[in-house]
């Protein structure tokens, strides 16, 4: 077809990783890398998505970046594809280092891979996949934002996201166990219990920054009388920034270590803490990378786990949370697993007043932290906060209806929403579902 005017994505933010990586590029390396990824790792999906897109622009309204930038077309899903993948294909890989810098910034920091646009494209074109292809190319070229690359290095070196050493991990669990024993004297966090029903895994930031979540989970497990365990070896961390940095090989290794820890302990199922991207990595991406069509043993997100415990009567509500709450559906548990109704059941059981935000469920707006964007660190904080004004508007609207607390059962959503609440002056509380449940359930008297 006829040529399109040349497109050059601009670099808006200085990032050391992107800058230094791009400085080492040569035209030959760029061309060779792009073409090896395109011909070696992509196929019918990429071709069909590029050939089928009729440039209608209907995906635009799906994207929080587009909506938050006063409908600037450069931020629409197809607009971002035009500035990256279309241009690469059109030029057959003959693009400049500056182009790669701009494309890296778009793919890593202006798309959360939230897949909302997939539900707005009449053809079901998977823009998240196309952005991941772009990230894969950037990863192979070594042009990745510094902070997410550091996290990927931590994954490679330690098999967890936060450079947590093995003894620090065990020590943290024992510390939380002791703390929780003040409340429930016979409480245990069973390490390495072979044959337990449940393998409980969390993300690296839990032992690092949010150890109280492990405490709360231990209380919930003990009160419910669940037979559970956590591994004392690598594999305890279910998170996966390599999935988002484009390091697919390392992503698969991480998932293998996680699954192997569960197999070694001969558990019946994996239950995960409240994290969205980790769920996506275990339930949807990692299993495929390792050759399993679906997960080799059941993988249950905390939301579903709480739902089941309440339904089975293993948890009873003593006192409902009394401030009006609203619920934020994380993309990876709603568009990734359809857990929205289960979550609402838990919220209604444990809170006295629940007010829906709009849009909600599978149409909820992303927090703008997911997909590795928050992991790109401080240089891009304002990219995601200002790129999600629409989220603040959505929250202001539900606040006007009386909501005081936002429940978000995902770590990335927490990071993103905290910054949005602060930046836009929302003055709302933010909680995990586990925070609410821990407070609300009947516990044995100490």
């Amino acid at each position: 077809m006829m040529g399109e005017p040349a497109i050059k994505p601009e670099t808006k933010t200085f990032d050391k990783g992107i800058e230094q990586g791009a400085a080492k590029l040569t035209p030959e390396k760029i061309k060779q890398t792009i073409n090896s990824v395109i011909s070696g790792e992509t196929g019918a999906r990429l071709k069909a998505y590029v050939d089928t897109c009729v440039h209608c622009g209907l995906c635009s309204e799906a994207c929080h970046f587009y909506l938050s930038h006063d409908n600037d077309p450069r931020y629409s899903p197809a607009g971002k594809v035009k500035q990256t993948i279309w241009e690469l294909l059109k030029k057959k890989g003959e693009v400049s280092a500056d182009f790669i810098k701009g494309a890296s910034e778009i793919a890593y920091t202006q798309c959360n891979l939230c897949r909302r646009c997939v539900m707005y494209c009449p053809f079901g074109i998977d823009v998240a996949y196309l952005m991941l292809v772009m990230r894969r190319i950037c990863h192979k070229l070594g042009v990745t934002p510094q902070y997410i690359q550091d996290t990927a290095h931590s994954h490679s070196a330690t098999m967890n996201q936060m450079w947590v050493k093995e003894d620090e991990w065990i020590d943290t669990l024992q510390w939380q166990e002791e703390e929780a024993q003040d409340e429930i004297p016979n409480l245990r966090i069973p390490l390495e219990k072979e044959g337990a029903d449940i393998f409980y895994s969390v993300i690296g930031p839990e032992p690092k920054f949010r150890a109280q979540l492990i405490y709360q989970a231990a209380v919930i497990m003990n009160v419910a009388g669940v037979d559970w365990t956590m591994p004392a070896t690598p594999g305890w961390d279910n998170s996966d920034m390599c999935m988002f940095s484009g390091d697919n090989e390392m992503m698969a290794r991480l998932k293998r270590v996680h699954y192997e820890a569960a197999f070694r302990l001969k558990v019946k199922k994996i239950v995960m803490g409240e994290c969205g991207h980790a769920f996506r990595s275990i339930y949807d991406v990692g299993n495929r990378a390792l050759g399993w069509k679906m997960t080799p043993l059941p993988v249950v997100h905390a939301m579903q786990f709480y739902y089941e415990l309440l339904k089975e009567g293993k948890l009873k509500i003593a006192k409902k949370y009394d401030k009006p709450v609203t619920f934020h559906d994380p993309c990876n548990t709603v568009r990734g697993r359809g857990l929205h109704e289960m979550a609402r059941y838990v919220v209604r059981e444990s809170c006295s007043e629940f007010i829906e935000m709009h849009p909600n469920r599978e149409h909820n707006y992303c927090c703008s932290a997911g997909g590795g964007v928050i992991n790109c660190g401080p240089p891009f904080k304002m990219t995601r906060v200002e790129g999600n004004r629409i989220k603040a508007e959505q929250l202001f609207a539900v606040k006007a209806k009386g909501a005081k607390t936002i429940i978000a059962p995902c770590h990335n959503c927490h990071g993103g929403l905290e910054d949005i609440i602060h930046h836009y002056g929302l003055d709302m509380e933010l909680k995990f579902l586990g925070d609410i449940l821990y407070e609300a359930i009947e516990k044995p008297a100490a």
Partner: protein, 219 residues
């Protein structure tokens, strides 16, 4: 003029249909083979029930959230696609040509209805072109090829309307009409018009992923 007419209404018709049908089969088969080789997951995860569920929600007007958010575009799009397919197949003049050649015929619409639908299709093309010029998010994605594709679609309808109404130069227009119709058919498999071929597969695959793996709707 007669020689030209004989050419466009004879051999070129055959060529156009052969390129259209052969090209479509080639595109579908080569894409299926490429998927088998490079994206075998598409076969593993394609799920007939969820694929059809998703396709259904996207070919029925207002069955998806986005089609309800853009009601005018939804109406225009459906009128356009229905007219585009319906008018050429059920036009009395076309059926007569087929009957004269092979003595087969089928149900047809009245000339008045065909005239009206033709104007609607042309109007829709103008709407799409205007949208590409006026709406920033569409303009940003638009390349000259998008206007060319619209022209390829609109030309057979404009020239057909002209010919039917016997306006000045209608015999030349008749030739242009046949020729442009042939061009339209022949380029379908090799341009973005191939979305006609791939829609059931891209939509069906995404419907399968959302339905069977992710347990959620995609509309």
């Amino acid at each position: 003029m007669h020689a030209m007419y004989d050419l466009v209404s004879g051999p070129l018709v055959w060529i156009a249909f052969i390129v259209f049908i052969g090209g479509s089969i080639y595109r579908l088969v080569s894409m299926a083979l490429l998927a088998r080789k490079k994206d075998p997951m598409v076969y593993a995860y394609m799920h007939p029930k969820f694929a059809l569920r998703s396709i259904f929600h996207w070919i029925v007007p207002f069955a998806s959230v986005n089609s309800r958010k853009n009601p005018i575009l939804t109406i225009v799009t459906f009128i356009f696609h229905i007219g585009l397919i319906f008018v050429p197949i059920f036009l009395f003049a076309h059926i007569i040509l087929v009957k004269e050649s092979w003595n087969i015929s089928w149900w047809f619409i009245s000339d008045g209805a065909a005239d009206f639908m033709t104007l609607l299709v042309i109007g829709c093309c103008i709407f799409f072109a205007a949208r590409r010029i006026v709406q920033p998010e569409v303009k940003f994605l638009t390349s000259p090829s998008d206007f060319l594709i619209l022209a390829v679609i609109a030309t057979p309808f404009v020239t057909g309307f002209w010919t039917y109404h016997q306006w000045a130069g209608h015999s030349f227009m008749a030739i242009l009409h046949i020729l442009s119709g042939e061009i339209m058919l022949a380029v379908i498999p090799f341009t973005r018009l191939s979305h006609m071929l791939f829609f059931p597969f891209t939509r069906g695959y995404m419907g399968s992923e959302f339905g069977a793996v992710r347990n959620v709707k995609d509309w």
